[in-house]
Symmetry: C2
Subunit: 272 residues, 2 copies
């Protein structure tokens, strides 16, 4: 089964396009977790227990784990071990380097840690990404249009009448021989999302930027899904993780995730 | 002192533009190191002992250390602790993400690990890099033209008559308010190197790609240095690290590094 079809199957079994981003900030944990051996692992485990039936994927932002220093690697490992096997896991690190270095990033993320997918940056081109793509069963989400303001600096520059990100997408379509490529498109960019879905009608789209960043859930669903109403992976991090800072954080997170999943599904019912 | 001036001072004190890239591959270590507690740390320490008077910088390719799993972080720490304080250290990870994630990468590399500089990828634009730039005394090398074949995919696309990488450089010049920005330019691109030095006459250039990748030392010096014959950081990794696979690896590495430093300095004498 290709990564794309695996994603579709998970989304249907789970009845959800929601991805929870585990951007866990040790400074924002509920106070009562302070006594745990590794409070971040404890927080993540409880979050996963509270939401795993509501999501198609968990996204782990590597920046937050590298910032833990020596404990980072094992914190990721213990978190991944707690995620049910059928759920997609996304290593969000936006890596890419010359071939022999990218080989190591890909091996570390896919073989060492066991992530089912990751995000990568396109600037260095094909041979910097091929070491990721060749893991045929793993998904590789290439940055197209990002949700931040700085996206305007380069991604929109016009090359032969089209923005740079469309050239990125054209290349990614060519590289997609294993049907394991996806694109990252910020939810804060509804017009671009619509255009990108038309350019890449069958590719998974990882869509961050709803919630704290202000992107619209309606347009993420309407323009992000493929024709069958699948393949949009709609990420929320802070709004779920920190729904409550008290002892009730798991029920608050679950409640926020249920609301978001249902909102997403209500738009799927309308548009697909 | 700005990062740029610190780099110049180190290059003059050391009499060297050479950077040794510690892309240490556990599979390529001399057999007799196998009994060490952490063979990669042992290899790096001996390499540093054998070369520290010959270099202006050491570049640590984060991909090779992430691939070590749990031991990666402490392996970097022990390696950094062994590098004399005056030498520049470069965390080569080509990171960048939305602001709150880049904050964590920057803090982890600069404050947590204590690197004096790092490499970053430009695709996500200004606010993805600002968290690095704001560490005023640390250097930030932004990818411009990379040494790999895939560089052609996007970096050379023409935007208003100029290749994308020139637009990157124009932006980096604006962002360089603390004089702590640099650019990465592959030694395999001599023409582009000449052009880039004319566009950024006072910026540090990190130049990988000599040695195993085939770039010319002569053009790296001639076109990479500023008018005073400084500020090119010329990196060699595999040709020095694996100069010998036997018990004499440190003397072989030293001998290769001496030859390269002297070759670089001979071109400095000719052109500056």
């Amino acid at each position: 089964m290709t990564f794309t079809e695996r994603l579709r199957a998970v989304q249907r079994t789970q009845g959800s396009l929601l991805c929870v981003g585990l951007d866990t900030d040790p400074g924002k944990l509920p106070a009562h977790l302070g006594s745990a051996d590794n409070p971040v692992v404890e927080f993540n485990k409880r979050l996963i227990d509270a939401t795993h039936d509501l999501v198609c994927a968990y996204k782990i932002n590597l920046a937050f784990y590298e910032a833990l220093g020596e404990a980072g690697w094992s914190t990721i490992q213990h978190t991944l071990e707690h995620i049910p096997k059928e759920i997609i896991t996304i290593a969000d690190g936006k890596r890419a380097d010359i071939g022999n270095s990218s080989e190591r990033y890909a091996t570390s993320l896919f073989t060492g840690m066991g992530f089912s997918s990751c995000t990568v940056a396109p600037y260095m081109g094909s041979d910097s990404l091929e070491p990721f793509f060749k893991h045929e069963e793993r998904g590789v989400f290439v940055l197209a249009v990002t949700s931040n303001a700085g996206a305007r600096d380069f991604q929109y520059l016009k090359v032969r009448g089209k923005p740079l990100y469309e050239h990125v997408i054209a290349r990614v379509r060519k590289w997609n021989i294993h049907e394991n490529c996806g694109l990252v498109v910020g939810a804060t960019r509804p017009k671009e999302l619509q255009r990108i879905r038309s350019l890449a009608p069958t590719m998974p789209l990882l869509i961050p930027g709803i919630g704290a960043q202000g992107g619209s859930v309606r347009s993420a669903v309407r323009h992000g899904c493929d024709k069958q109403g699948d393949l949009a992976v709609i990420n929320a991090s802070r709004s779920i993780l920190y729904a409550s800072s008290g002892a009730d954080f798991t029920s608050a997170a679950r409640s926020t995730a249920v609301t978001l999943r249902d909102e997403i599904n209500s738009y799927r019912d309308v548009y697909f």
